[in-house]
């Protein structure tokens, strides 16, 4: 074949590709219509009075026996929960449950991708409050109200701890897009033995002029941490630690920032105010605190903090609820927790909300239904059964569970309080921390804003000036706002701020 001829045909192929491209554009490449416009399967069914959501979910799901639902769950330790309860549901109803494990960083993307491409690979979705607005705007979440009306005892909605049932967590206004399923909140754990030591009490008071007690402010946190490091670092014990690792470092900024009255944006102009005096103060405090934390803390993630804490090497940590249970040896000896180091702090763990007046409601999950699901009712019924008071109590008490108490009935459970001697105190702290919690920024682009903040924080940990780092973050915030539409974002932010757990300022 002559080269000229080849060129001619190559050009034909290219033109063909363009035609194909154009045809693809003529076809409906965009996302399917928003879920709200699609008729929900449950709307056609008769309404009935439901007494027990758990029993009713099982009874109703039996009509879908033989079908299979795909359930998205965070990979790692989290799926150990549905791996226990999925087969139970199958046994009770005949509905097969397949768990699709996705790493946290990919969960939002993959679930949205599945919806946009019309894949329909997932039936039950896992959503975090910070993704809620974006997923709803994309139409990627099925409104659950018709299913709730049909299948649930509505009193169960009131059983969610107020913060987890609040607007912006798993619902927008009166429309539920998910069933809140995890009470993620930051708690401070401290070594009661070190705090109660008379020598430490005396020395600390002499040095700082106030009693050694669990810190309520960041200044106290800094004083106490520095004190313990100075005294015990030769023995390998440090004042404390929290995660500094990129990707989630921003969660330790959110609580103190809100506690200091900091706002993400100016409500009038929608200009970023992350670089306000409150923001700079909080970031400077965080950087200062890392000075007395263990060497290398800048790259510490969840596992490093957990290991050092359980090994008795830290006086204080700020992290998620499961650590409190594992500190007391709950789940010890199970295969699922074989990777967790032996705890050396049993009986010596005290609990307190995050210092600074607000505890970050970091993460948190809700169970939703995909609009692309071919079996929405079965998917919803599985979510309802997992989430109903009786099953969810079993789940949050599962020794290796990562789901934390989120219902009022969980916090009141005598069965839970009997798990270890201070379980009651633990539950009380979780509840009070959550009730004075600060929600993650739940507006469109929330994740993108937080990644910009995360970059500022890790830059400051690496030596950048906190003011300069936050100024850069503010610039990125403003660029995101402009791209998404300043007016739209302003409205979304104002609406989000109306929520009790979004408003800044200390809460006791």
């Amino acid at each position: 074949m002559q080269f000229r001829t080849f060129r001619k045909y190559a050009a034909l192929v290219l033109v063909g590709s363009f035609v194909l491209l154009a045809m693809t554009q003529c076809a409906p490449a965009a996302a399917p219509a928003p879920a709200a416009e699609q008729p929900a399967a449950a709307q056609t069914g008769p309404a009935a009075t439901v007494e027990d959501s758990c029993t009713n979910a099982v009874e109703q799901a039996k009509q879908f026996a033989g079908s299979t639902i795909n359930v998205v769950w965070e990979s790692g330790l989290q799926p150990e929960d549905p791996k226990v309860f999925g087969p139970k549901f199958t046994e009770l109803t005949g509905v097969n449950v397949t768990i699709v494990e996705i790493p946290y960083v990919d969960m939002y993307t993959k679930q949205l991708q599945d919806y946009v491409t019309g894949g329909g690979a997932y039936d039950v979705l896992t959503l975090a409050p910070i993704w809620l607005k974006d997923l709803v705007n994309a139409g990627a979440l099925e409104p659950l109200n018709p299913y709730i009306d049909k299948y649930m005892n509505k009193a169960d909605l009131d059983d969610y701890l107020d913060v987890y049932g609040s607007d912006g967590y798993a619902r927008i206004g009166d429309t539920w897009y998910g069933l809140p399923d995890d009470g993620d909140v930051f708690v401070m754990y401290y070594r009661k033995d070190l705090f109660a030591d008379p020598g430490n009490q005396e020395e600390f008071k002499a040095k700082f002029g106030y009693e050694l007690a669990p810190p309520k402010t960041y200044q106290e946190f800094d004083d106490i941490g520095r004190f313990f490091t100075e005294k015990y670092s030769a023995e390998g014990i440090y004042g404390g630690a929290f995660q500094h690792l990129e990707g989630q470092a921003w969660d330790w900024f959110v609580g103190p920032f809100s506690g200091a009255g900091g706002q993400f944006f100016d409500t009038e102009t929608m200009d970023a105010t992350i670089n306000s005096a409150a923001g700079v103060k909080v970031l400077s405090d965080m950087v200062k605190a890392s000075e007395w934390m263990p060497p290398g803390v800048q790259k510490w993630g969840f596992t490093e903090v957990l290991s050092a804490w359980l090994d008795g090497k830290l006086a204080m940590i700020i992290t998620w609820p499961p650590v409190g249970r594992w500190s007391e040896g709950i789940g010890k000896g199970t295969d699922q927790l074989s990777w967790v180091p032996e705890t050396k702090v049993v009986g010596n763990v005290g609990y307190a909300p995050e210092p600074g007046g607000r505890s970050a409601l970091a993460g948190g999950f809700a169970l939703g239904v995909s609009p692309n699901s071919q079996n929405k009712d079965a998917a919803y019924l599985f979510a309802q059964w997992m989430n109903c008071p009786a099953t969810s109590l079993e789940r949050v008490m599962l020794p290796f569970a990562l789901r934390d108490p989120f219902r009022k009935s969980h916090f009141a459970s005598e069965e839970y309080k009997a798990l270890w001697p201070t379980a009651g105190e633990y539950l009380q702290t979780l509840e009070s921390a959550a009730m004075q919690g600060q929600l993650e920024l739940g507006i469109p682009g929330g994740r993108e804003y937080m990644v910009a903040l995360d970059q500022a924080i890790t830059a400051a940990y690496a030596g950048a000036d906190p003011q300069a780092a936050l100024d850069e973050a503010a610039g990125k915030f403003n660029a995101i706002t402009d791209r998404l539409g300043r007016d739209t974002q302003k409205e979304a932010y104002s609406q989000w701020l109306q929520g009790q757990w979004a408003q800044p300022g200390p809460k006791q």
């Binding site: 990129e246 290398g296 990644v451 940990y461 690496a462 990125k476």
Partner: protein
């Protein structure tokens, strides 16, 4: 087509030969009429279809997408012309990512080349245990970059990492430096990790090339009084240049696309100081779902790669000529 056949229609097998001739000519006519011009295309059609489907079409679609503000969470997907390209170069972050990519590529590939060259020369000079050395050198190349990233992350660890421990033995004091947490050393750590994994690749190519060089010309040069250094610069380097260009080409393209090690080692942190172009594209495209913008960044990266490839291939061609 029938005429040549008639020449064979003689002798004992006249009838059979005639039948064969008719059959052959019919097939030839059919082929000539239907497939003559199209036969080559028919043969390449399956591969061509695959190339169009998985390479040409996605590339063109990316180009098309790059002119739109395509984000699934937004109701509209408006045409914005070169808006995405303008944003790429106005915010500075993409430019920074390109600069980081260039730094890692230039320094990393240069070190890999230098060390690979030296090692190939060393192994060739001393032939004892050559096979074992070559086999051992293959190991890092065969490890998945993700595994390399996670392994080196442990090696660089401030408290438990052996790198600090070894430095402590040398300096006779505890070293607890956070290599990956400091802007000044995070990039260095990435480059060292890259060099560790890919120098053996460079070594293998150069070793294979140097093995083919004729020893007699070195003997002649030695008789003429050329020293080792002169032999290296004036003989080995010019003779090896085409191979060096190919090796650099492969490694540079690979390094520009680097993602795995960044993802596992630093995640682009501290701040955005170790963010490469590929990592940035991953973040905007797959974490924030800004597909139009991500497509624009990919197109720019593709253009850069094309320019680099053209430049290096031209150098190679002129060298070969």
């Amino acid at each position: 087509m029938v005429a040549p056949c008639l020449r064979h229609q003689v002798g004992r097998h006249h009838q059979k030969a005639l039948w064969c001739c008719v059959a052959t000519s019919t097939a030839q006519e059919r082929t000539g009429r239907i497939g003559g011009r199209w036969t080559p295309w028919l043969f390449v059609a399956p591969s061509l279809a695959i190339v169009v489907a998985v390479t040409i079409f996605p590339t063109l679609y990316s180009l098309y997408l790059s002119f739109f503000r395509w984000e699934p969470t937004l109701a509209d997907k408006p045409f914005i012309g070169f808006g995405n390209y303008q944003e790429l170069f106005s915010t500075g972050r993409f430019v920074n990512a390109l600069a980081v990519t260039a730094l890692i590529t230039i320094v990393g590939v240069a070190l890999e080349l230098a060390v690979g060259f030296w090692f190939a020369d060393f192994v060739l000079a001393d032939r004892r245990g050559q096979r074992l050395v070559v086999a051992l050198m293959l190991l890092p190349v065969m490890v998945m970059p993700v595994v390399v990233g996670y392994t080196w992350r442990l090696l660089w660890d401030a408290a438990y990492g052996p790198i600090n421990q070894i430095l402590g033995w040398i300096l006779l004091r505890p070293v607890e430096y956070t290599w990956l947490g400091q802007t000044s050393t995070a990039l260095l750590a990435i480059i060292v990790t890259e060099v560790w994994q890919w120098t053996p690749f460079m070594f293998l190519i150069l070793y294979a090339g140097m093995s083919t060089l004729d020893g007699e010309i070195y003997e002649a040069a030695e008789i003429d009084g050329a020293g080792t250094w002169q032999q290296f610069w004036r003989m080995t380097v010019p003779l090896m240049l085409p191979i060096v260009i190919v090796a650099v080409l492969i490694r540079a393209v690979d390094s520009i696309k680097m993602f795995d090690v960044i993802y596992t080692l630093t995640g682009g942190a501290p701040g955005t100081s170790t963010e490469t172009a590929s990592y940035y594209i991953y973040q905007v495209g797959y974490q924030f779902f800004r597909l139009g913008y991500g497509a624009a960044a990919s197109i720019v990266l593709l253009l850069i790669l094309s320019v680099l490839l053209t430049f290096l291939l031209r150098a190679l061609r002129s060298r070969m000529a």
